[in-house]
């Protein structure tokens, strides 16, 4: 039957109408939106995203893909950066309103690590998907974590990260935090001085490119969560691709929404 009738939660495996439980502005142009899970069986894992219809009717036309920031039994939190018309509409929604989502979409971070040292590096709104990752890894007794979180100005969700890990380096282009500038310098220093078993990162592409290079120079495995403009989010339209290696000297465009958004650094080819 048609889905637009009423406000009941409808479901066809991956399409749901979900209630907004909370919506708070937590930094300049960043909102924390808590959404009720459509059911207790709804499983969404670190690295995955939901594709959200932000407006009513046909404006804006496309959904907006938003990474999952934190989950518990009954709810999931997304952190939304207000950067355009769609995200603005989403951030303007109130508690009690319902949003139409597709999900869970995409692959997950590989968290099949039982022991060792992990370095997690985020930049800008790219810190958001690393929060759920941090929560999951914090449940593993023999995994030791350190975080580097970078911001253009005012940091956000640092306290949330500190619920799970003590070692957090806060970087900002503004004065007054642990390090002034970009995440790359403290990241490089950390990798050189201490050996890590795995790096996880999400942020703007130029940052990820450097993280990949430096990780490779230090022979450290790195998982990168790529951000890209999408349309369908389910692998049909092929607009959100990235270059990945195929065999010895060939490459291919693969779908970030389907084969990703998480890739090993050694798979991805960033253009010069």
């Amino acid at each position: 039957m048609g889905r637009s009738i009423g406000r009941e939660v409808y479901t066809l495996e991956k399409n749901y109408l979900c209630e907004i439980l909370e919506n708070q502005r937590i930094a300049h142009n960043v909102h924390r939106i808590k959404i009720k899970k459509p059911s207790k069986d709804f499983k969404i894992q670190a690295g995955q995203f939901i594709n959200i219809k932000c407006g009513e009717g046909d404006f804006p036309l496309l959904r907006r893909p938003i990474s999952i920031g934190l989950t518990d039994e009954e709810s999931m939190i997304v952190y939304v950066s207000k950067i355009g018309k769609g995200t603005k509409l989403l951030c303007d929604k109130s508690k009690g309103e319902f949003i139409d989502i597709l999900g869970p979409l995409g692959n997950t971070f590989n968290v099949d690590i039982e022991e060792g040292k992990v370095l997690i590096v985020g930049g800008g709104i790219g810190v958001a998907p690393l929060l759920e990752l941090t929560r999951v890894l914090s449940q593993k007794d023999d995994v030791e974590m350190k975080l580097i979180l970078g911001y253009r100005d005012e940091p956000f969700i640092v306290e949330e990260f500190k619920n799970y890990v003590d070692n957090v380096i806060v970087v900002s282009e503004k004065e007054g935090f642990d390090h002034k500038g970009y995440v790359i310098a403290p990241f490089e220093k950390e990798l050189r001085e201490n050996s890590y078993d795995e790096v996880f990162s999400c942020g703007p592409e130029p940052m990820l490119k450097k993280i990949k290079e430096i990780s490779e120079e230090n022979n450290t495995t790195v998982q990168l969560l790529l951000e890209e403009r999408m349309a369908c989010g389910i692998g049909a339209c092929l607009v959100c691709t990235c270059k990945t290696k195929r065999g010895e000297d060939d490459w291919n465009y693969v779908r970030i929404c389907k084969e990703g958004p998480v890739f090993y650094g050694k798979e991805v080819i960033f253009d010069e």
Binding site: M1, G2, R3, L12, E13, K14, N15, K53, D58, F59, P60, L61, L62, R63, L102, E228, R229, M230, A231, C232, I234, G235, A236, C237, L238, V239, C240, T241, C242, W251, N252, Y253, K258, D271
Partner: protein, 307 residues
């Protein structure tokens, strides 16, 4: 209430209902199985196929525009042979018609792909002479009635399969293009493909798409599509599959009234993966309310008040 027959016969291609999904917006069908029962579709136009694999265009490939989107995917596809081996068997499990969208740089390439697909159980071929996002072939074939005639005629001679020709809206007179396709032996016409467009980032002063231009789709192009279906309906006798910005059943009904015998949903699939079923339900209800018993009954019934 009289029973409504939603099946349509597109000059030899029989669809259980008039809803198809447009090439390039539905992958090879797999991507939609979490959302929709593929058995409920009249037909699936698969992602555009070429002789060899195509990697497609550089990123960015998408720009959202008012009531529409620009894409510049560039026919990324694994090639026709891979499709036959890896994707056809999956699609053939379903009770729906599989329509192969074929693309070439040259007439010979179109013919070669048609030859290859003709040896399979594919239900129909859709000759794409309207892709705006490739250097060679594509829309350059679809702009000139003589070229449309030549490529359609050549492919016609290479296949006994049902043959659809997909037209580009980027032409001065769509009627002469449609007539050329009909004369060359097309069984059916599908229109429209995307309109060539552009978007610019005013801060960086660069085009949003890496290749500068791309194909505009979505509700923004619906009035143009409707006008073209109407114009073509009045000059050809072969059936038309109408498409361009269909987002709900009301849009689909407009296409039938303009002269379409079936419709195709494109960009709508990218926003609501279940749209095809919703449109189908709405069409059935509308026909019932209006007292029509088939698509044939409503087809081309629009009246122009001042005529």
């Amino acid at each position: 209430m009289n029973k409504i027959d939603l099946s349509v016969d597109l000059n030899g291609l029989k669809l259980k209902n008039p809803i198809t999904v447009a090439s390039g917006t539905f992958g090879f069908g797999r991507e939609f199985i979490d959302y929709i029962d593929l058995n409920s579709l009249g037909g699936i136009m698969v992602k555009g196929l070429t002789l060899e694999e195509r990697k497609g265009n550089p990123m960015p490939r998408v720009a959202e525009t008012p009531m529409g989107m620009l894409n510049s995917v560039g026919l990324q596809n694994p090639g026709v042979k891979y499709f036959i081996k890896e994707e056809m068997p999956f699609l053939k499990q379903y009770d729906t018609k599989i329509i192969g969208n074929i693309n070439g740089n040259t007439i010979e390439e179109y013919c070669e792909i048609a030859d290859i697909l003709s040896k399979t159980s594919i239900d129909s071929l859709e000759l794409n002479i309207s892709c705006p996002n490739v250097k060679e072939g594509g829309v350059s074939f679809g702009r000139d009635p003589d070229m449309v005639y030549k490529v359609t005629k050549a492919v016609r001679e290479h296949t006994d399969k049902h043959l659809i020709v997909k037209l580009s809206p980027n032409v001065t007179d769509i009627k002469e293009i449609a007539m050329a396709a009909e004369k060359a032996g097309a069984d059916c016409i599908s229109l429209i493909n995307t309109l060539i467009g552009m978007a610019i980032d005013i801060n960086k002063e660069v085009t949003v798409l890496a290749r500068g231009m791309g194909g505009l789709s979505g509700p923004a192009i619906k009035p143009v599509a409707l006008r073209m279906v109407y114009e073509v309906f009045n000059v050809v006798s072969i059936p038309i599959i109408g498409m361009g910005g269909i987002m709900n059943y009301e849009d689909a009904i407009e296409f039938f009234l303009a002269g379409a015998h079936a419709i195709s949903i494109g960009t709508g699939n990218l926003i609501n993966p279940r749209i095809a079923i919703e449109v189908l339900e709405g069409i059935g209800q509308h026909l019932a309310e209006k007292g029509y018993r088939s698509i044939e009954g409503i087809k081309g019934k629009v009246k122009v008040p001042s005529k």
